[in-house]
Symmetry: C2
Subunit: 300 residues, 2 copies
């Protein structure tokens, strides 16, 4: 499970940093979180395939988080996409997209489903391989974070061993659940003889844009990786508060309280060219911290 | 007078080519024609200053011609722009922009004027330095070309000569108009002694997206430079017709009939990686032809 950063700047593009977008890859599926201007070009550049993407999540309706969406949606249609696409976003985006398609006399080539985000914490997708939950954060307008959970796919079968013990393929699903197998000759084949540990459950929490808040701590508790916005440094905390944003120290404090394994910093203001001070400020509170870089895929 | 190409691809970004946008620089003013996704980033990259831009023209409402507009408009506001901005675009774009600002709870920092394009040929801007005229072209939805005319600023004063002949500055405007000056001592100072030729009148015609059509030939007649779309080569003419686009040969034919000095080709389909065949096809009909390249500023 990886997250590829496509844009990590706040508001304005600057210093080669694009507005917010990131792709979470889980079992071959690509989940797009936010879609700032230029996302379709960034996805091409970093070889993220639209064909593997069926779900897009938009945190809120400030332009730096969704102005790349109309282009992405229509480009996939021009290329003849047929697979369905699900968009989870604040409700007022729906008529805007409908108008954009209508004035272009454009009908999408694929089924497109709009799911308005509720005001509360809610399970949005519950697939056999992963789930996505939204949770409210505290911004100037309605805004959500997202928790992506990779599910275990159960025990991993060892094909050679399964054959050696002559286990019928009809029993494989039971093996994945950890069950033993009793052969007709009476031999009890222990599960651990023919399986290995499968992929672990993993949790990735995306928290942007928000004032420092512990309200959503229960949702992100124990996350393997937290991406948290830090538009400002502590020295500019007054600006952070006035604009409903966080500082690097606050992001670190939250990661610490959440017992996260790793913290990824992002959503940097254009006032900062150098980002090392963000890492330093956060590391004093939460050591396992990284400054996210565009084009890098981070293991969750 | 120059035109800087910010994007010259049709529909999809491909091979590093961006969707359509271009900036016409005339006497220090920057006129933006179309605004595909990524235009604000392209303007930064090629050092075109937003401060010098007060007019934006959108040919039609296919996304590859305006999806960069919301980002550009809001970024200028975030940077505290105060100068007015005039947008000339098909009327249905107005409520879309209003909705985009409303859902972000965003009020622009500067006066923003929306001018809906009429269905006819019409003078949109008539400044002392330049004028812009729109003219209907033939596309699947309402679409306009634009003619930008640089006006002469009259005769160019030669300051040393003006002082030598002791001409009062109050007479300078008369000199620019080509008038002579009669001194109190009776000497008639001939205009050509104290002035030189000023900048010539120049015409730049932007023609995209359109089927081949001679309907707008009277408007673009005698243009110094014509930018004409050529989404396809003649070999794919059936596609051009079906999709309301032109071929390189047709663009050349029109430039020839218009007695243009120079033809700039653009709006290439993503099916073509190499563009030299476009130049060759057009040059057989109209020799003074260039394949437009992103980031290049062409003298009109």
């Amino acid at each position: 499970m990886k997250v590829t950063i496509l844009g990590n700047n706040s508001a304005l593009p600057a210093y080669g940093r694009h507005p917010t977008a990131q792709a979470v890859s889980v079992y071959g599926e690509v989940l797009l979180i936010d879609c700032g201007e230029g996302t379709q070009i960034q996805m091409q550049k970093y070889d993220l395939r639209w064909r593997s993407m069926h779900h897009i999540f938009i945190s809120h309706l400030h332009g730096d988080h969704y102005f790349g969406l109309p282009g992405l949606i229509t480009s996939m249609s021009l290329l003849g996409r047929t697979a369905p696409l699900h968009l989870y976003a604040p409700g007022p985006l729906k008529p805007i997209i409908e108008s954009i398609l209508a004035v272009a006399d454009n009908v999408l080539s694929y089924p497109f489903y709009f799911h308005p985000l509720p005001d509360t914490t809610a399970l949005l997708v519950d697939d056999s391989a992963f789930s996505v939950t939204c949770f409210p954060v505290d911004h100037r307008i309605q805004c959500h974070g997202f928790l992506v959970e990779r599910k275990t796919r159960g025990r991993k079968l060892l094909p050679d061993k399964c054959r050696e013990y002559e286990i019928p393929s009809s029993w494989y699903e039971h093996l994945k659940k950890g069950e033993d197998y009793e052969r007709k000759d009476g031999l009890l084949v222990k599960n651990e003889w023919v399986t290995a540990d499968g992929p672990a459950v993993k949790k990735y929490a995306y928290c942007a844009d928000t004032l420092y808040s512990e309200a959503y701590l229960p949702v992100i508790q124990g996350a393997d990786t937290i991406y948290h916005e830090c538009t400002y440094l502590e020295a500019d905390k007054a600006k952070a508060v006035a604009r409903y944003h966080s500082t690097a120290a606050q992001a670190a404090q939250l990661a610490k309280l959440a017992n996260a394994r790793q913290l990824l910093l992002g959503h940097f203001s254009s006032r900062y060219k150098e980002l090392e001070p963000f890492r330093e400020e956060a590391a004093a509170i939460f050591p396992n911290v990284l400054v996210s870089a565009e084009g890098t895929a981070y293991e969750v």
